[in-house]
Symmetry: C2
Subunit: 375 residues, 2 copies
């Protein structure tokens, strides 16, 4: 009788946040790669680029001049994907299957630092804390606006991930509707909290169970040796989730208590957040000795509480548990990525190494950035 | 009062096949593109490449020698994503959230033609008919195998879509489980057929309504002037669906009667299928005068009927309606693609021009391939 071995036998894993599966084909990394390779990442950037529309003092595409900022800078995207309210009402549907829902909102850009050549991986944790404070400010400000139902904070890093400017920056899109993926996650968190009796893990509002608290409690305290955990500090864990799609996908989340959003973080939890963001992005760069491309997104309560009339642990809207997803495309080296194409687009995501193998690789790396290793 | 204009006002459209939305931001194409550009498509390929592992008579990575094939050739992938049954039983779950489902199956490669330098767009419809026959054979053969529950036929075309060999070929992955996306589509087709009274459109089994028959009937016969239809012939329509994600996404499907799968096609319907595949891929190449990259997948009944005991129109499994999805990444030119990254990966897909605008561009192109235009 053969015994099931996750690093030999193809299998599917369920993502309980989305209800979707991933096909794991661990033996597939043996396949030689003859396909497209990525151009090398530009690594000798100047500290200041007179052509960059995000550098301090420069002029942007829309004609505005940037402040001579010293830490972070926020402005509204000149080519926003959504426009401010009010918008016209929905038109009648020409057929019941052809519905239109007008969307309003705003798109902000956050420059992480004045230096053109730095990234999260090269910033001291103190500077990352300033970015976290900026995220909190925008999330609160946009979330308090009339008609805004959802705030998505994200970063596209690297040309491979559609980022058109290496100057360190992220984006925040605020919308009058909750987008598909977070809506699905929230609905699955809700179903779980109603259907699952509480365990030893921290609990969500109304003393109910929380899918992510249960999951991260298991990973960080019970399953440690099985090894999907990459990094852990006082308050946060970075792990390759059981259901990861991208080769070195990471979920980063607090594990000591249920935390609905970044505005619910204590000062210590924020410092600890900055520290683990720094260590995680350093390891990413160290994996293939390059400025590692990824898309990162923060999932949390759609908008902060509009008032504090309801106590935190009684507010059902607090069932969201703050977490970050990192989706990096690289698979084998700085120039060979994973393509999520035919089968993945038409059937379901497929990965070529197990999450446990990916976590092991990431755990084995140094906490010192490869460009900062003393000779 | 402002009136809603789909080519000006950002809005969301619902995909009834998946239950997910797409954010349409039509004004966004005005944005200048400073990001990554794609390397030019190799256009001067030899008719025969001695290094190509798919050319007739050559030796493959696994050591086997290809036949000197004259039309199509099928072989099992040397680096299959799934392995043949039987496999070991599922291991116990270490936690209820960490479930494993072993998967078995097989992966086939179909060479479309002996010529290394041709693609669907450069093949006469008669040769495309031979590929359709090959798809039917594999779908029947794999679908009849013990334990196979789903057969996914697809093509990755172009280096941009992870294809590692320009020799014209496609793939077929056959699995012991129905993957996430087709499972969702089938479940939404089923719900619709139970909830929606039949209309003038063709009907599915048990005389019930069919979401895709209703939709394509509306597009091909009622909404014609609104213009999402790109091409139409005797039996088939190619259209940019109302809910398209990729800039020039196409859904290709039969519209005259309900057809569960490729084995249900009549000889005339197959000839008409080959004809429209030819015209569609020619237009794709003509759009930016390049060999247009895409992923294509066939969605249909998961496997053919195992017997003909139940009449076609009484068999509930026939509620699937055959359709092809084309997912091409290019947006502005042969070298500028759409990146589905940060917001798209973390929240929901976003597109930069309306489906109607995309269909209009595609309709305006010639049926003669740009490389075959006489001087
Ligand atoms: O099997 P191929 O063509 O080598 O590989 C390609 O298609 C597969 C199926 O869509 C993907 O999983 C791979 O990432 C891609 O490179
Ligand atoms: O807004 P940017 O950085 O110009 O654009 C980038 O991020 C957006 C949000 O994920 C995507 O829609 C674009 O395709 C991508 O190129």
């Amino acid at each position: 009788d053969i015994h099931f071995d996750p690093s030999t036998h193809p299998h599917r894993r369920l993502n309980p946040l989305t209800g979707e599966h991933v096909l794991v084909s661990p033996h597939r990394t043996k396949r030689p790669w003859l396909g497209q390779t990525e151009p090398p990442q530009q690594s000798n950037l100047p500290q200041y680029d007179p052509q960059c529309y995000l550098c301090p003092g420069n002029t942007r595409a829309g004609g505005q001049q940037n402040e001579k900022y010293e830490h972070t800078m926020v402005f509204e995207n000149d080519y926003a994907a959504v426009l401010p309210p009010p918008g016209p009402p929905a038109p009648p549907a020409p057929h019941p299957l052809l519905t239109t829902e007008p969307v309003q909102g705003g798109c902000d850009v956050i420059c992480f630092h004045p230096r053109h050549d730095l990234t999260l991986a090269r910033l001291p944790p103190k500077d990352i804390e300033r970015i976290i404070e900026e995220w909190c400010r925008i999330y609160k400000k946009r979330g308090a606006q009339e008609g805004i139902e959802y705030v998505q904070i994200f970063e596209n890093k690297g040309a491979m991930m559609g980022c058109s400017n290496p100057h360190p920056h992220g984006q925040v899109w605020s919308l009058s509707a909750v987008p598909s993926l977070p809506a699905t996650e929230l609905s699955n968190l809700r179903k779980y909290s109603l259907a699952t009796p509480p365990s030893d893990a921290p609990r969500g509002p109304l003393n109910r169970s929380c899918l992510l608290c249960d999951y991260v409690h298991f990973e960080a305290t019970v399953a440690q040796d099985e090894g999907r955990v990459v990094l852990k500090n006082e308050h946060w864990v970075a792990l390759v989730p059981w259901w990861a799609i991208w080769p070195f996908e990471i979920m980063l989340l607090p594990y000591k208590r249920h935390i609905p959003s970044i505005v619910h973080l204590t000062p210590e939890e924020k410092a600890s957040f900055a520290e683990i963001l720094s260590r995680l992005t350093i390891r990413y760069d160290n994996l293939f000795s390059c400025s590692f491309a990824y898309s990162m997104g923060i999932h949390q309560r759609p908008v902060p509480p509009k008032s504090d009339a309801v106590p935190e642990d009684q507010d059902e809207e607090n069932l969201a548990h703050l977490h970050l997803h990192f989706a990096p495309p690289l698979l084998r080296s700085a120039s060979v990525r994973k393509f999520l194409v035919g089968f993945e687009l038409m059937a379901e995501p497929q990965r070529d190494l197990t999450p446990e193998q990916a976590a092991q690789r990431l755990r084995g790396l140094s906490d010192v950035h490869y460009l900062e290793v003393p000779d």
